[in-house]
């Protein structure tokens, strides 16, 4: 599980300077990142497998709702597996999510969008992956919302994901989109990812097999973090 991390493949993550996403212009380094083989500082990381989670931590329909009620909106299940690049499941890993409500409004003091808050929806959840890397959340499908970038810019429906593997060098924050959303192709944030095939991997597929009849529509979203290199002929020549 530990050992040298596989270097990040070029062209998958978005570049840092992406002028069509205007906030990146002053928040992106101009100097090249310094590349190096991983060391213990990146090959270790915080682990959360021992954490006691509340029964509703992964159920956003209920975890902020008043007793006897649930959040308003299209009821969905988001599930999938957390894997590494070597196709191994990553068990006991923490996944945290946050999202807007069904109207596209965030429960955040800096969000002034005119869509209403839902008194029964907080918008955050977390879970720990199972032995096979599996995870699941129940929530509402978030709404699209406008944001001040261009004069008429709308974010596609999305759920934010924060993912820990077992080492700090695997740390990832990303967003999940929904199959069939026409706003994905128009979104300056989604389009920071230069490779169409890479962006497609952020789009969760409708999963009728896991859909619960008369209850909730399922979407499947698998997540892949960096893997560790196998140790054939490892000699660590630079003393790391």
């Amino acid at each position: 599980m530990t050992g040298r991390l596989i270097p990040r493949e070029a062209g998958i993550h978005p570049p840092l300077f992406t002028p069509t996403y205007k906030t990146s212009v002053l928040r992106s380094p101009e100097r090249a990142l310094i590349s190096f083989d991983s060391s213990p500082s990146e090959e270790t990381g915080p682990t959360f497998g021992h954490m006691k989670l509340g029964a509703l931590d992964n159920d956003l329909l209920l975890n902020y709702a008043r007793p006897g009620t649930s959040a308003i909106g299209e009821r969905i299940i988001v599930h999938g597996r957390l894997l590494d690049e070597n196709n191994r499941p990553i068990p006991n890993a923490l996944i945290e999510i946050w999202q807007a409500n069904a109207g596209g409004r965030y429960r955040h003091k800096k969000d002034g969008y005119l869509a209403a808050l839902d008194p029964d929806f907080g918008g955050c959840g977390r879970t720990i992956t199972g032995e096979d890397g599996s995870y699941a959340f129940r929530t509402v499908k978030p709404g699209a919302y406008p944001w001040p970038n261009g004069p008429n810019e709308w974010r596609p429906a999305h759920i934010h994901f924060s993912i820990f593997g077992h080492s700090f060098g695997q740390r990832l924050i990303s967003q999940m989109y929904f199959e069939g959303d026409p706003l994905i192709a128009r979104c300056p944030i989604a389009q920071t990812i230069p490779d169409k095939a890479a962006l497609d991997r952020l789009v969760a597929a409708l999963d009728m097999g896991e859909t619960k009849p008369m209850d909730a529509i399922a979407y499947r979203f698998d997540i892949v973090l960096r893997g560790h290199r196998q140790t054939h002929f490892e000699n660590r020549p630079e003393g790391l």
Binding site: R31, F36, S162, Q175, V224
Partner: protein
């Protein structure tokens, strides 16, 4: 034709956006009745061995404005240079910090212990350092840097030896502002831009 690799491909990164607090620091954004406790608040518990330190940070953009909507995560070893999870690690050290910037000043404060030097293979050691990971609206992929300490000899660090422009190393060294107190400003762009890594 050749054999095809049948391996999954990395999930790409996206910005954490301005509402990252909802998921990762809910009490900071005005959510009452937070359904669960916030992570990363105690890096080193009261029983932890080592010298207590306080680090005050800011993340500054290319227009010299401190980011007031970013989050910073830190990862560090215990006072003996052993990372949590490794054999012999100090059980009172979680090693993991997570703090949002103050919405008015952009200041971020970490209270922890000073980590020890990290053993590498052979007799070599990396001088004490704390790994930083910065994410915010406008940052498409979390930025990784390290904070070193001004009182330490940094000459033996193989990672720092890689940096061709030697004057840039100072961007990763905190400033001592008092006994056990440090200031560490991270500059995203322009003059004095902090060194960021792809490791």
């Amino acid at each position: 034709m050749v054999q095809k690799f049948d391996k999954p491909i990395l999930t790409p990164s996206q910005t954490a956006g301005p509402y990252v607090h909802i998921g990762l620091a809910p009490e900071a954004c005005g959510i009452e009745d937070v359904p669960f406790e916030t992570l990363g608040r105690e890096i080193a518990g009261p029983e932890a061995k080592g010298d207590r330190i306080k680090i005050t940070c800011r993340v500054v953009d290319g227009g010299d404005l401190p980011l007031r909507d970013c989050l910073v995560e830190t990862w560090q070893a215990d006072a003996a240079g052993i990372y949590p999870g490794q054999e012999g690690a100090d059980p009172a050290v979680s090693g993991f910090g997570r703090m949002p910037a103050d919405f008015t000043t952009g200041e971020i404060i970490f209270e922890t212990i000073k980590p020890g030097a990290i053993a590498l293979s052979g007799d070599r050691k990396t001088p004490p350092h704390i790994s930083f990971w910065i994410f915010a609206r406008g940052i498409n992929h979390g930025l990784h840097t390290r904070m070193y300490f001004p009182e330490d000899d940094l000459s033996g660090d193989p990672l720092l030896a890689r940096i061709e422009h030697r004057d840039r190393i100072a961007t990763m060294v905190a400033e001592a502002t008092g006994p056990g107190e440090y200031r560490f400003d991270i500059r995203l762009q322009g003059a004095g831009e902090t060194v960021f890594f792809d490791i």
